[in-house]
Amino acid sequence: MKSRSSQLQNTLDLLVLRTLAGRGPLHGYAIVNHIQAVSDEELRVEEGSLYPALHRMESEGWVDAEWTVSETNRRVKLYRITAAGRKQLAREQESWERLSRAVGKVLRLA
């Protein structure tokens, strides 16, 4: 059984992987901003969770990282989703959708 915190972790992974899959290589700060913007300011990713999560996913082989220089001439670390990451994303997305469908049904019918 998965603990509550690991479910939260999975959700964060899902958001990050989806963002990277949709927007191409991004640095951490951009990921935070993107999720915040796309969710109409509803979701605010804590930096305290994001960087550990990124490093964890890097160690799992779901993302690759690379230092480059940004358009504002800053050294930034760009994260790129890998093939394994895409598979993981598909899995996470599938289980998330199943869950939200189920919750939706309960809300409609109960």
Binding site: Y29, P52, E58
Partner: protein
Amino acid sequence: MTWRWRLRSLTTRRGVERDLDDELRSHIEMRAAELRAHGVCQADALREARRMFGNQAAVRESARDFHINRAVETFFQDARYGCRVLARQKGLALTAILTLALAIGANGAIFSAIEATLLRPLPFPHPEQLVFVWGRDAIHKRWSLSPADLEDFRKAGPFEAVAALQAQSVNLTGIEEPARVVGAFVSPEYFSILSVQAAMGRTFTSGEDDDRAPRAAVVGYSLWQGRFGGAPDILGRKLILNGDPYTIIGVLPRDFSPFRLKADVWLPSHVYPGYTRTRGQTCVLAIARLRAGFSSERAQQALNTVTAQLAHAYPESNRDRSATMVPLQDMVVEDIKPTLRALASAVACLLLIACANIANLLMSKAAGRRQEMSIRAALGAGRTRIVRQLLTESVLLAGAGALVGVAVAVALGRYIAQKAAGWPEEVRVELNWPVIGFLASTAVGAALLFGMAPALMARRSAAEGLRQRRDAGHTRLRNILAAGQVALAFVLLAGCGLMMESLRHLLHVDTGFDGSHVLTMEYRLPASRYSDPTRQARFHAEVVARVQALPGVEAAGIVRGLPFSGNGGMAEIGLPDRPATPASAPFTAQYNSATGTYFETVHIPLRAGRTFTSADNADAPRVVAVSESFVARYWPGKDALGRQVLIPNRDLSPDKPRLVAATVVGVVGNTRHDRLDEPDSPQIYIPYAQDPITFASLAVRTRGNPLDRVRDVERAMWSVDKDQPVWKIRTLESMVDASLGDRRVLLTLFAAFSALALFLAGLGLYGVMAYQVQRRTAEFGVRMAMGAAPRDILRMVLREGLALAAIGLLCGLAAAPLFARVLHAELFGVTAADPAVYAVLSAVLLLASALAVALPATRATRLDALAALRVE
């Protein structure tokens, strides 16, 4: 984890750290830049960006923890820190390390014994194919086999080879003083079954198992080194063995340690004095190697088929005969298995007690480290990190304990191997990799066991932070641990007490004879010069006469099997005045032959009739003496004198009857023959002169110390035959005592273990109560301020401490009988739940507990009420 990532983090640890710092800094700068874009001033923007980011250190630590070398580094950091902590608390560290060393060492010693006996394969190729083959008949479950039957076994499917073997002492003469060496009589297959090559020369070939072949001998390494000084030209030399010359054809390798055959010289099986190819006679033991792919079950089935066929073909001799195979490995260890099981349970108990003790110790210290943990938590140490830190300290303690424990294990292992006579010689206790691995894993397991509770406790205090300074509890866990220690200590104590009581009972067993002041020795006449029974009888009679004439000698007698010598056995008898029994369950009795003087020498009382005289010789009518238990079994309430008993016929020719009639002329007392705890069995004695054999045990009752007479007795023997060696020169008393040897060793070990357990349990109680008293100082202050007398406080603390002990004791009382069942084989005259033993031990335990609690209790009474109140 991907290998590339792993590799990178391994190679560039500094790089990874800088990398992360850069990343976080760039994040904050980007946030600050955005804030500035929204009009926040330069200084505020950076501060705000940092604030929004939160605890950088925590993020850094959390992210970095995914790097494996980080983990290694953490361990070393924790270890360094742990060493510093332990160095500051030398008392605690030393107590814990010493306790662990004793507990882990004891476990290591017992494990090394288990490894050497149960786990390590025998030192032969494919040891799983080696089996010992026992004969079985109506009387004996494990008996010898006939060489003729072995021939048929060889033809059966399951065996690659079957070897006959037998051991007997052999007289070695032609040197300064006649000597006794141990001879092994083996058929040529023996060496190939065990895959042994001669170190020099050769072993037997198939033709040598024959009377016509020249007499050849293979000598053991130690005989070659000892008697021949390792002479390189030993091959071809002659040895005079049992009066016959043998040519030495080979020397066995030094490390050859054959199962149950610790011999000096190896001879072909057919020269064994009792050897006969007659199918009716069983005279050899056998080992065999199973063909590859034959399970022992299938092999046993095939063997059953063969023995059934033989029973059909030769009903006269083989009707009730069968054979059983026992894996050789099992044969080596079957006797010591129960002992090892008992010891293993005891040391496991001890380890648990030690762990509970150290857990309690650490927890009382951890209470003092609450502040430290809170500060570390505030400084950004993760909770897991704090748990890991404390567990690392535990592992350090256990590791140090295990290192010292190695010395304990080696010393204890040596002691056991040296003292325990029942220890198979094949197995040597040693400090090898399995044992080291066991010690290491025990240490880690123990560390987790005793380190977990304090670590989790610290984790909680770290979470609670600096807010809460009062002890929030853990009292219950600590009480449980203390009570548990008391319970386990009682279990060990009970085992020890039951064994002690058993030994006391055994020492009071009436053996039926008086072994004090009795000197004994054994000899065997060489068959080559004493083939005639009359000559044998004459020799024995002459020896008795000359020894009895010696000054300082009160009486001397000869017997075939002395009590507690391992000699002697059961024989089939017939009772004409009783209804016949089925052939598969004949009448039996413990069979012995003796001179009349033997009974007076060892003080076996005569109850009725007479013992034997010199008139009871080979030409006289056959007579026997029977024991009281014989009468009770076969003729209860009747007069035995003058009745007829059928005893085995000495003449084994096929045309002679198996049993011959003899008249009971005397009834003597029962004796214990093999063990003090054996039940009474019917015993029958035949006059030596009517049942002469080449082997004899001489018993001599002396005035003064029996061992002072040894030279005189030997000279008396050599005055009859100068070439006759004697051996096993010892007192009868020491033989009885030796039968208790293993029991004493086991009891000594148990006594040591339970004393340690009791001490640790007391220490545990003391620790818990001392902590309680310290914690409740304020409460006691209030009580005293309100008029409680010191006596009341004393009583209160004592009551609480003893309540803990009592709970432990109750649990111990419930568990002890279960544990005592493991000791089943060691118990004599007591039950596993002997009320008297349990009562005494409960008292001992409560007394020890009271002592342990008294110290903190008296300290509580000496508190100054005002000072106590000020503590808060």
